[in-house]
Structure formats: C-alpha cells, structure tokens
Symmetry: C2
Subunit: 146 residues, 2 copies
Amino acid sequence: MNGEPLTILLVEDNPDHAELVMRNMEDFQVANTINLVEDGEAALDYLHGRGAYADRKQFPMPHLMLLDLRLPKVDGLEVLKQVKSDAYLRALPVIILTTSDAERDLAMSHEFHANSYVTKPVNFDEFSKLLKDLGFYWLAWNKKPW
Amino acid sequence: MNGEPLTILLVEDNPDHAELVMRNMEDFQVANTINLVEDGEAALDYLHGRGAYADRKQFPMPHLMLLDLRLPKVDGLEVLKQVKSDAYLRALPVIILTTSDAERDLAMSHEFHANSYVTKPVNFDEFSKLLKDLGFYWLAWNKKPW
C-alpha cells in the first residue's frame, strides 16, 4: 500500500445507492477518498483529467472504479469499453455494480473485460457486507494499477 | 449460488504452494472442488475438455482459475491470452497468483485482461487470509460465469 492515499471512483446516478456505498466505504475505512460522478461522460472526463476534473490533486487517479450500467449521457458499458481499450487506463480495476441480472449486460461486460460483475443485494446488511468484502479485496490484495 | 458445486482450477507447478492453496481452500469451504494442473498446456486442455480432461463430470468447468505465471510447457501469460481471447472462456475469472512483482508481468497481465493480479504473501498467515478473502469474494459475490 506504501501509505499512498487510496481513491475510489463511484459512478452512480441513483442517490440512495450512492449514499449507501459512500457511507459504508467510509465506515470500513478501506479507502481514503471516494469521489462520486453521476453520469458516464463525467466518469470519462474524470479518468482523462479533462474539464471540471483537470486538477489531479482534487481528483486523483482512482485505484478502483465502481460502475453502474444504466447511466445518463454515456452508459456504463460504453465507459467500460473505452477504459479497457485504452493502454493506460485498462490497468484500472472496473467493477460493474448493478441491479441488472440481464444476460446481455453480463455478456457485454465480459466482452469489454470488466474485472468483476456484482449485482446489488436488495437486503441492506448484505449490501453492506458486499461493500466491505469488495473494498478490502480490491484495495488490499489486488495489485495497484499505479 | 443455486446450490451448484463450485469448482476452482488451480494452475501451479510449485507443490508447496499448491498444497497451501488447496488445504486453505478446503478449510474455508469456499469451493466444493479444487482441481490442480501443473502446467499451462494441461490448463488449456482442461478448459477445452480435451485429452485426459474430456470427462466433464470428473473435470467440471471451473468458476474461478488461479493462475501462476512461470509454468512448464505453456506459460501463464499465454494461457491467460488464450482464455481471454475466446468468446466463451473469457467469462471465466482469471486471477494471477504469483511471486512475481515484475512490471512486465503486471503490464502483460493487464494487456491480456486478467481479472485480478495478486502476489503471494511470504508470511503463512497472510497467505491463508488472502486465500479466504479471495475465494469468498470471487465465489460468493462475483457473478458466476456459467
């Protein structure tokens, strides 16, 4: 971990889900910073350090991205595709975190090389446990992308 | 989980590491079956159900592959590349589990779309904890490939 601050980029347009993820991740202290963006265009701008996200001090490169699929402007599968076809960005672990159980979403996520695909549990305690396990696995065990 | 038997394919030529992984995974009961192959050629034969691995009852499709990099016959990066360029097999989560910290290994693993890259902890208790967290995350939370 080298004592570096760990950052999660959360891409989520449902405010209830976003709050649940952020509150849990803060409670578990798996990351130092969680930055929220609410559509796919903002996610890509953040990753490329463009426009409103040009300041890397305020918006550091994330070590993990939690990506919803149904998003305004640019949808989650397109964000995934662009990240995984970029020689630098593809090192970023992208976890699809969605309510969708649709075969097509899963198949396309595999085609575009999502690192992992997780469906949001309906039960609050289960969701909380998922976030703890997920945050810990990806930020403590998986090798950092940069 | 649907009560289906969960299978891990462990690709590891170091007998001490293989034993450690298998014993821990059995203790934690995260999977029903762990099948070990000791080189990359056998890993590909297993996944394609070829030769000695033609019987899918005895050698069921795994839900997770733990893949070492330095392997006899066909090396781990080549196995990874072949799995991730196959439209069916690419759904299989491939976790690189290695002693290597080399930048090139990490970069190539990203290029060939490994799901995750984890270095083996030297400390026994740490290794044990890793296997528990890893097995649980991938087999309980990550959406099954088939």
